[in-house]
């Protein structure tokens, strides 16, 4: 049993699942009951209730984004290549010219330029940057979203607490030893509803079928399994038929707002992330794949930054305009950085030794840079940030105790983070 920490009391306040649930029971009678006229209103209320809790959006740059073409350009050194730097709206902070819109939102974003790790292969480093641990045969660690949702998510809400948008990063990134309950709902393509959430038949027939299952499971052996299964069917179908599923439908967004995020799947993903967080979803991961620029690094990074710049900047501003930024942590990073040395194919190779991450919201003081690399980019010059430091910071910011221990399958207690220090400057 872990100690009662200051965080737990916080959690009781932010996990309002029971309150919401009670309300639904009273008003709707049964989750499978017929559609109610005031259901939409209810859903809206539920959403606003959940907004009080903290959320996190992880913008995952799969492949290892080049720090030199994004947040840590080296214009004055040969290693910087052709990438120029530009001023931002915070004096003294310059970032890559590839990110003009992010530059104009720099006051809301903090940069970590001294991230350092050891894993140089995509799967191992992706795993580590999702779980805080390197892969091992003996324990399947939960991914960041699962850990956060385990502590903060309202598992009884209509919408899933953890949504992952876009393809690319798969592997072991799920609930791990926490169980499938904490796996993400995957939205492969943000322009379509999530897989298998649309009834194969019309709603009347779908309900008829569900009723038939309920009758078949009303009696018999294995009472617990029948009850659990009925509960699950009820939650799944409530989600499917919930008016909140419209959150996934970007067509519902006013055209101007939709356009403000720009074009492309990543832009749509960021918009969907905001819509989900607004409805109380706790953790959304949005993937942008393709950062493995072993050749033609500069033009590929220009293109990738073009896909990322506007949506990232807009997301941060949009959250702020809606009063959500103070409760939503936005992270933007990949599994490692890229070599300062430019290879003969104008590419950059894997480089875990010194790379960057961007972080905003949830009390993080924007407009600052933490850590630095040397002029050639080869070494950390100041304030190395180890991977556990980063994870400890993320959990702490979200109000989750990083020393909380879970039991692994073989009964070994495993803390959310082993070692590491909180990056306190972020909040100064």
């Amino acid at each position: 049993m872990s100690e009662q920490t200051v965080w737990t009391s916080d959690l009781n306040l932010t996990r309002r699942g029971w309150r919401r649930r009670d309300m639904l029971r009273v008003l709707a009678g049964s989750a499978l009951g017929a559609s109610l006229p005031w259901q939409t209103e209810l859903a809206a209320q539920a959403g606003s209730l959940r907004q009080q809790g903290k959320s996190c959006i992880l913008l995952w740059m799969q492949g290892g984004p080049s720090q030199l073409e994004t947040f840590d350009p080296k214009q004055d050194h040969a290693n910087g290549g052709e990438t120029r730097s530009i001023a931002t709206n915070v004096s003294g902070i310059r970032i890559s010219e590839n990110l003009p819109q992010v530059a104009q939102s720099m006051d809301k974003i903090a940069l970590l330029r001294s991230m350092t790790g050891k894993e140089g292969s995509h799967p191992r480093a992706s795993y580590q940057m999702h779980t805080g641990y390197i892969p091992t045969a003996s324990v399947r660690y939960p991914t960041l979203g699962s850990n956060v949702v385990y502590h903060l998510g309202d598992m009884e809400a209509d919408l899933p607490a953890f949504v992952r948008i876009g393809q690319g990063n798969r592997g072991e990134s799920g609930g791990g030893y926490l169980g499938v309950k904490y796996d993400p709902l995957v939205v492969a393509d943000p322009s379509r509803p999530p897989e298998n959430t649309t009834p194969a038949t019309d709603e009347r027939r779908f309900r008829r079928r569900l009723n038939l299952v309920r009758r078949l499971e009303a009696n018999g052996a294995y009472e617990q399994a029948r009850a659990d299964h009925q509960d699950l069917l009820s939650r799944s179908s409530t989600m499917m038929l919930s008016p909140q599923m419209a959150t996934f439908d970007l067509e519902r967004e006013p055209q101007r707002d939709r356009e403000s995020y720009g074009e492309g799947a990543f832009a749509q993903g960021c918009l969907m992330a905001r819509r989900l967080v607004e409805q109380g979803v706790t953790f959304v991961e949005v993937n942008l794949n393709g950062w493995d620029t072993h050749d033609d690094n500069f033009s590929r990074c220009r293109d990738l930054c073009g896909q990322m710049d506007q949506p990232f900047a807009r997301l941060v501003n949009d959250l702020e305009e809606r009063g959500l930024l103070e409760s939503t942590l936005v992270l933007c990073l990949g599994e490692f950085g890229r070599t300062p040395r430019i290879n003969p194919r104008s590419g950059r190779d894997h480089f875990p030794r010194a790379f960057s991450a961007a972080i905003a919201g949830c009390g993080v003081r924007g407009g600052q840079v933490i850590g630095a690399t040397t002029a050639d980019g080869n070494e950390i010059a100041d304030r190395p940030i180890q991977i556990p430091d980063f994870f400890r910071t993320v959990f702490t910011t979200l109000g989750v105790d990083p020393d909380h221990e879970n039991m692994s399958g073989i009964g070994r207690p495993i803390p959310l983070v082993t070692d590491g220090e909180v990056i306190t400057e972020l909040f100064g």
């Binding site: 050891k118 894993e119 140089g120 292969s121 799967p123 191992r124 892969p135 091992t136 045969a137 003996s138 399947r140 899933p160 592997g171 169980g179 499938v180 309950k181 796996d183 709902l185 995957v186 897989e195 298998n196 959430t197 649309t198 009834p199 194969a200 038949t201 027939r205 779908f206 008829r208 079928r209 038939l212 299952v213 009758r215 078949l216 499971e217 009696n219 018999g220 052996a221 294995y222 009472e223 617990q224 399994a225 029948r226 659990d228 299964h229 699950l232 069917l233 939650r235 799944s236 179908s237 989600m239 499917m240 399958g409 073989i410 009964g411 070994r412």
Partner: protein, 587 residues
């Protein structure tokens, strides 16, 4: 209640022959497009059962299953039947000592469903059920032998071990070895190769991972000595020695030195992606000549090292301490400088030796757990001298028999399936363990669910689309595994169904397409008979491999009465049965 299906046989006509090689798991049974009422499924099904490869030894008109003699002669030192009886006596004594009573006996057909799912990885088809149900008496030992003689047995357990190995992989590319490993295991199980030989082959293996499944375990751990020996110890001995990797084991006797002495059997092995882009694979190689000491942090172990070094905890950059290969169970060791071949052969020999108690116990514990739903220890892969098993005498008895039968997995599975406790009505996974009063109800593995869908929906698996993806091939079966797969070493008492899983069964195009197809079961039933009972029986026996209870039947009859369109109503029933919790369990 089975008499109802008997009714369906009254107007039996002489069935035509089916070619024997036409029978596979995949649904052929019952996919002929017509229904038993018209065809006389009694004899029909009988031929289907005997037309399976196992049936070739039997004359086709031989009807009485019960009187057929066991086809595998009991030449072993201890027969499965005798050992099962000895287990029964031990458990009966234990239960009476603690004042417990065994659960009621499961009815024959429940036991049959159970043994099919456990041995061949799928439920019985409606025709197979019919044969068994209409025989006057069920010879359980005979039926188990038939199932063990079918190649689906090896495939089922090959898939189990593929998952046990590859759910712990430390990189994605290792999946190139998954199918070869499954096939290697399948062949070994079907040939009843000694489990000691299988373990040895996997320990000494080298070669191309896309062709030789024996290297699978090494490839899954990228050939890293620490990770590879951890897995060898966990899977073959049930001992989690890797906890001693960084510090002496907190709850076990193993020291950090002993862990690194075990790793010292593997320093010369490497697991390296093939440089040829036209052939994506991983090569496991070993060498005994080393020119330079490679970087210890080499990510993919392109080359091995001459000796294993135990890192210095105080100074991780230091070269560390050179370790001799010593096997922690018997303390036998080899000198520094020993060749790779001799290192790994020695480890294989000592690990599988009959005087190593943990090798047999780990296998017994694992198979028992798979069939009974709970292992002798708290975990299938965390046993050893510092853990206390439930019913140590039963475990010892089975381990002794397993040794006496040259580590025969077929013997072990048959013995456990013949025990009295296995024949009882199962209890829910969450029930607190008090004694062996009953088996536990087990959530099915992803492949078992897929094969259940294949039978329920009469899917021809080979006709489904597949595409190359990453290091493997993506098929509906692998897509299902993404949703329903789990590490079979994990305790299943904590398993729970997830929302994406239920969404798949409710709404996926795969299920919907087959439920509502013009050639689907519901459509054909609606076309070919007006008899609601036959329609209900057929849907039940395809979907859940049983017939409905009276309550279920009346609920369904009521449903059929309420919905105007019979085909639509039958589709609803089919969908509903696939969406019951029962569909996901082995009862």
């Amino acid at each position: 209640m089975w008499r109802r299906t008997g009714l369906a046989c009254e107007q039996m006509t002489r069935p035509e022959h089916r070619p024997a090689n036409d029978v596979a798991t995949e649904t052929r049974l019952g996919s002929s497009g017509r229904f038993r009422r018209h065809r006389g499924s009694f004899t029909f099904g009988l031929i289907a059962l005997f037309a399976l490869p196992w049936g070739t030894v039997l004359a086709q008109d031989q009807i009485t299953v019960a009187t057929s003699a066991s086809t595998t002669a009991a030449t072993s030192a201890v027969s499965a039947e005798e050992t099962a009886l000895a287990v029964d006596r031990l458990i009966a004594d234990e239960l009476s000592a603690s004042g417990l009573e065994a659960n009621p006996k499961a009815e024959n057909l429940l036991w049959v469903r159970r043994v099919f799912l456990d041995v061949v990885g799928r439920p019985p088809t409606p025709d197979e059920l019919l044969v068994i149900q209409t025989s006057s008496e069920l010879d359980r030992s005979w039926l188990i032998d038939q199932l063990l003689a079918n190649e689906q047995f090896g495939r089922n357990w090959g898939r189990y071990w593929r998952d046990a190995i590859f759910y712990r992989r430390t990189e994605e590319r290792a999946m190139v070895a998954a199918l070869p490993t499954q096939e290697y295991m399948a062949t070994a199980f079907n040939e009843d190769r000694s489990w000691g030989v299988v373990a040895s082959e996997m320990i000494v293996a080298q070669g191309d991972a896309s062709e030789d499944g024996r290297v699978g375990l090494i490839v899954a751990q990228q050939g890293r000595p620490e990770e590879t020996v951890s897995e060898i110890s966990r899977l073959f001995l049930g001992i989690q020695i890797q906890c001693a990797q960084c510090h002496d084991h907190p709850t076990d006797r193993w020291t950090r030195e002993q862990f690194h002495e075990l790793a010292a059997f593997f320093p010369r092995v490497s697991s390296r992606p093939n440089p040829d882009p036209d052939k994506r694979t991983i090569m496991v190689q070993a060498q005994d000549r080393f020119i330079r000491r490679p970087n210890r942090e080499t990510m993919n172990r392109f080359v091995g090292t001459a000796e294993h070094m135990m890192p210095d905890l105080a100074d991780p950059q230091a070269p560390g301490t050179e370790m001799r290969p010593i096997f922690f169970v018997n303390n036998e060791g080899l000198p520094i400088g020993t060749s790779d071949a001799e290192r790994r052969a020695s480890l294989a020999r000592w690990l599988t030796a009959t005087d190593n108690p943990w090798f047999a116990k780990a296998a017994v514990n694992r198979v028992w757990s798979e069939l009974l739903g709970r292992s002798f220890y708290d975990a299938v892969d965390d046993i050893g001298p510092d853990r206390t098993p439930r019913s140590p005498e039963v475990l010892q008895l089975l381990a002794d028999g397993f040794v006496a039968n040259d580590y025969s997995m077929k013997w072990l599975i048959k013995t456990i399936a013949l025990t009295d406790v296995y024949s009882r009505e199962s209890v829910e996974p969450s029930v607190v363990d008090e004694g062996w009063t009953a088996p536990y109800r087990v959530p099915l593995r992803s492949d078992q669910i897929f094969d259940r869908l294949v039978i329920a929906l009469q899917i021809s698996e080979s006709a489904l689309p597949s595409q190359r993806r990453g290091p493997g091939v993506s098929t509906p079966r692998t897509a299902l595994a993404q949703l329903f797969g789990f590490d079979p070493s994990d305790s299943r008492s904590e398993w729970s169904e997830s929302i994406p899983q239920s969404l798949f069964l409710m709404n996926s195009p795969l299920v919907d397409r087959f439920v509502r197809s013009d050639n689907g079961l519901a459509a054909r039933l609606a076309n070919e008979t007006n008899n609601a009972d036959i329609q209900i029986d057929e849907l039940y026996s395809h979907s859940l491999s049983r017939l409905p209870s009276d309550e279920e039947r009346s609920a369904l009859r009521q449903h059929l009465g309420q919905v105007q369109d019979r085909r639509e109503a039958l589709e609803d029933v089919h969908w509903s049965l696939i969406n019951t919790a029962e569909f996901l369990y082995r009862d």
